[in-house]
Chain length 444, copies 4
């Protein structure tokens, strides 16, 4: 039986997936070795559950995949897809895979596209609904972004479920990040409260790669590749001037995965600053004197900063954006100002070139591997919905496609473990270990 | 304790890694959370061990990573690197990572590069040995291929160990495929026979992605991406002529991974032919009548064929190449001839464009993700050698870097499981399920 | 008045463009500075007219561009587009530009797409005609190939003009190479014979860049870029083996422009063999001994060969392909065999990797610059047709868009001048000047 | 005899190139058809000389290319290269070509690289001089930027010539923009004043493509390609949100060539704003109401703005940068603020994504075509210097490589002619003709 309950230090993890009801309809899928329900046992370690601290524990997960028997009769089902939050490579691939699997494999008669995120459910915005046929979606994976459009911020779960009822939706696929998956939970609650039979399946999207239990979100690889292109340019600019400094701001509100991975990939970065490893500007181990030493020795430097890094150095604005995320202080502007002041004070002539490639990274089409990944996420989402699952997301966990409860993935944000060998490799690549704060409690 | 012995149906799997001796030298690695030796437990299923047939079993593996104590004194150690067999994206990245880790992190005084594969050890070839310094390797990841050169075929283990003795090598890193890893085993035997203290560490390289226990070999992603470019061109050519047929031959002697993955990524392929799913040409379910139906319905078709597919349709030459692999019959030429004959006979005008992108795929630089992967493989290889391991490879298994015994990875070739959901997705993408041989024993 | 008559040594060049009749309809083009008819004087030299031998002469050409008054009433006109011959980057861009200019700028009510080349006019092939609306073509420039499909070989001018009459076409746009432009001439003759008012405008397409008076055909730049990618791979393979030889066959039946330009761009080529510079295999200045010296000195070599090079070394088959071009002997296979025999005889171990990237080069989308170029060619073709020109092509000549008579561009094939500074730069880049036949009559 | 003197309306153009003295040393160039000195006659029109207003006039230019006899004895010559101003794709290609031509073709014993622009001549900056050997430069074309480094701003011509004398330089190659070419003029004056025999040859570099008489500067094509990538991303972001606006700022201080060319290439731009076509924000024909109509009709818009556009809408700061160029007001920030205020006032919800790809565009390696172009520029610069020319630049003019006097190219900035067919094509592509200021004096 899939589903494990794990408790430690007050943390409760339950991998059981909610079902809408018994699966009695034979699946129309041909040439198919159906997935059984014995579950996928996996040993998890502190990468996933920090509280495990060096140990590992076996948990059982529900396998993703097509079932022999379904809850819904696909020939009478109706699906809807909505895409929320910022762009990320691969969204169109997921949309395409859902539509193709529902229409071609299950013969679902209709898949609707909700325009501009959750707004699309709310009458006052007057957005159209589009019908997503195989013809409509067949080439969309060649383009970045989302053909449905997106928006940020919550909408009333009641109004959303009203819309689902009006449109007679059997399964809603929500492609979005942490906020969207929390909204999905609320929709599931409202669906249950009304005793409706609507499946709500999430596909986790995060350019920051910071969703709990998701080692690598779709589009991450593509994003890293585009990030390395920008860093390469920063490096070229840096060596093109005496004491040239290339500064690149990358995504990463609470987690520095893109910045770290791009650093490992490109090998030209001298300082990578991420939220998980707070740094200081001045004094021993401070960024500025370390940068000065670097410039005096090598005459150029490349700095990559995640947008959420160094927030301790900035005044908290207390403001939040439409998605409910705190509005971050602008660390890149702070660095530009501090570097200029520091160098001017010391008579160190320098040239700083600043690159913010955010929208260029977010909006490109997925690369070959992300395309395959997105294809499976979309297909598995449809399998799960047809089999009557709800309140869950599809995910790849240790190379296995599984179902994860919404509660589990929204429990907290995933962060880069700066006690890991991964981070050590980053520090080796940049040579920035002398910065204070980079290596907490070495093997203490 | 790492190391599990698993037996089933005569199959014996032992994950224990040979050690050269006790690790007593404190590691010079700074800012490092050292890897402990409790091992990494992983649940394996029939993807890895076919005999498990739907079940899974927990095996314990030795974790890759830096150790607190070493067997070798790095300041007195000497390393050598050799690259063997065909090109594959990422070889230079692995070389670079080994050199950087050995020289910069461990302060190993010298890393030698052996030229042109195992030939480089044999005096009669008179190849130079090159010293690989950080300066020499710092930019090599930007280029495809191997800066060391390569060659195919075995050389005498005795002569190789003679050379290792002459050069006073402590650790030999062998980057190569199945044949190379078997050669590595022989070298380990010879080293033991002479009671030498030389570590032999493999880094598995295979453009076919067919090494046992290695879900995804380095360079595979990059290769798939380049393969999709060629298939896209075949598609463009196919639609550019009445009854246009684009035929692409891809790598895959015994396993169709690149062909299948590229098919999933691109979504323009109508027939993908791989060694694991034997097909027929004529009669019901035959490729040719199915192709004819496709042409009459849509006026174009794209066929991707792995080089090892359809060998049952070709006379066995009985010949072997320098690496000891059977010389395959040329399935692409057979298909070209058979398609022409079949169409001409039926008065079906057509245009076939044939693309063989093999060397274009093998020789490109690694993409961003493969670069990171290769970096870790190289670093972990050095960690393992310094800690006194031998007779092993470094590998990523279910998202965990581990040590695998040479015997395990050379036990047999990894193949694409055509009973898997993965293959089902391929069939859905191409629509080729009507071909005979594509779906064995549906859920029998 | 545009139009010059130039005569020398029996060569007659007349740049006068045929008109269907007086232009009396005011152009609907808004925001437009109309092109006057005084013509574009250009000094031509021996690059264009070999007979000029070091001198130059001023010729007058008709300028391309929108006219104030038109021959056709656009609101009653009907256009047709046909694409013929092999693929070339940018065809879809030209189609798109013609459709957009005709429909949006001139308000022409209909543009028809003829499928599969000239076959599309002939009833027995039963190909559909498609209506090309702005919606249909708006994204096609993102894809390589031709959305109309193509075919090779001539069709009866009478049947073609029958079809034009049946469809009531005012202007036919023919995108194709030398054979197509000759077919266009025949269609113009037939149109005149019947005293019809149909404009026939060519857009010269040639992957070989060998059309007379066209310095750089559309798609050439893109093709060169893709060719350099293949050569780079050949170089990587070559250095990856002892005495590695990378051999790349490129397009170029009678002219070596792609081979030469890619050589200049990449700088890794050691031998580039083109039709214009016949070479020998054996003896002093022969390719094989020169290659041997190169291998013995540097242990690798990259050879680029245009498909039409070295035909003197091959038996003339006397056969012709569907387009009427002689079927060339396979120089690449000859080189492979000769190199193997030569090296084997001398006990020179070597590894040859052969790459034929032809279809990969032909089928990619146009690059940014070619897109702009194709856009202007398409627009100018429409301007010319609406103004009543016929029997001409649009072309860029010394950076000026002009009209050229069909007779002029089909007079003979353009060839690379091996007495030019351009070829000298190629020889410097490769270092192959010691080959016999590379430098004719040095300044004699 | 090359060299024409042309006068009109007070404008004087003299194409005569200064010579250091008679050319008496036979050239060592082998396999070479030498360039004669009869000159290249070209018909120029108002694209080059605005005063010609629709007419054209024949001018004679000195041909670039190798001469049979040289002024310098190459075996005793010494060259120096300096790169100045901002980055541009292809600088390393020009450096490489100069070094290869000087060292390999002419056997010049030494080529020095001056570091960090003109600063490198001035003792107080203490920058090293590097020797540029063929080995040093053989791979540099694969990287963007300049291996020599650069800086902005003038330095004393006296000190520069002092340095040239100290280093015993025969020929100085200056790769830079308008300011650098003016500095070159001053150096030539100082050299003459001291009666030295030092050739000063410029290679015009401008990312803005705004140098007089240079239709297309090196790197321009590459820059346009990268610009289209950024605009594509802006388009994806724009359609990804309700009333999404993608705003891209491109280079172009006084000339909108990159913005216009990228617009023609990509075809997704709705508004392109360039310095040559002043626009208004409010009222009839104003950008804001036109943008509002576009949003209400299509729900998204893409705006490309050259950095020098709309300066009339900004307060003149009066400040200048290190290169002496006026510091421009920030038009992109003004647009962001004005669009926000305008939409907020009208209750038009919208999302604006701003992309500034400047450094990403400037720092990439040159594409295949630019590489060939840069190669010829570098080679011709060496030919010119060895033949004793000075005070000139090498340039491609109407597809012909020629020598141009420094005075001619620095006479004024080249601008996009908004009365041209080129600009009409831009307006057609964007559909922005309804903006006031786009089409001056239609054919009046």
């Amino acid at each position: 039986m899939p589903g494990t309950r794990f408790e430690k230090d007050g943390l409760v993890i339950d991998t059981t997936i909610p079902h809408l009801g018994p699966a009695k309809i034979p699946s129309p899928l041909v040439y198919c070795h159906h997935t059984n329900d014995t579950g996928v046992p996996l040993y998890l370690d502190s990468e996933f559950i920090e509280e495990l601290a060096g140990e590992s524990t076996a948990l059982n997960f529900e396998a993703a995949g097509p079932r022999r028997n379904l809850y819904f009769d696909p020939s009478k089902a109706k699906c809807a897809i909505v895409t929320c939050g910022g762009l990320c490579p691969g969204i169109n691939d997921v949309i395409r895979a859902i539509v193709m699997e529902a229409r071609h494999a299950y013969d679902v008669p209709a898949v609707l596209g909700i325009r501009y995120g959750l707004e699309g459910f709310i009458p006052k915005y007057r957005h159209d609904v589009v019908e997503l046929t195989p013809d409509v979606v067949s080439d969309i994976h060649q383009f970045g972004g989302t053909i449905l459009g997106s928006s940020r911020g919550p909408q009333s779960p009641e109004e959303i479920v009203d819309a689902l009822e009006r449109m007679n939706i059997s399964a809603l696929f929500m492609i979005g990040g942490d906020g969207t998956l929390k909204a999905a939970s609320n929709i599931v609650q409202e669906v249950m409260r009304r005793n409706l039979k609507i499946s709500v399946i999430g596909v986790p999207k995060t350019i920051d790669n910071d969703i709990n239990f998701i080692s690598q979100s779709f589009g991450f690889e593509t994003a890293v590749y585009k990030a390395t292109e920008a860093i390469q340019c920063a490096h070229t600019e840096a060596i093109g001037a005496m004491n040239g400094i290339g500064l690149v701001k990358l995504m990463g509100r609470e987690s520095g995965f893109i910045a770290a991975h791009a650093t490992l990939s490109l090998k030209e970065v001298n300082f990578v600053l991420i939220p998980e490893a707070p740094f200081t500007l001045h004094g021993e181990g401070g960024l500025l004197p370390t940068l000065e030493r670097r410039l005096r020795a090598r005459a150029h430097a490349v700095i990559v900063v995640a947008e959420g890094a160094g927030q301790n150095l900035l005044a908290d604005t207390g403001k939040k954006d439409a998605s409910g995320n705190p509005i971050l202080g602008d660390i890149a502007q702070l660095l530009r100002a501090e570097i200029k002041a520091y160098c001017d004070e010391r008579g160190l002539p320098h040239t700083l070139k600043y690159i913010d490639p955010s929208y260029i990274i977010r909006s490109v089409p997925a690369n070959a591997n992300d395309r395959v990944y997105c294809g499976f996420l979309g297909q598995h989402a449809v399998h799960a919905a047809m089999a009557g699952r709800t309140g869950m997301v599809v995910a790849k966990l240790m190379d296995r496609y599984v179902h994860l409860p919404l509660e589990l993935v929204t429990l907290r944000r995933r962060k880069l473990n700066i006690r890991s060998d991964y981070w050590r490799a980053v520090l080796e690549s940049t040579g920035q270990a002398e910065l204070a704060g980079m290596v907490p409690g070495l093997d203490e």
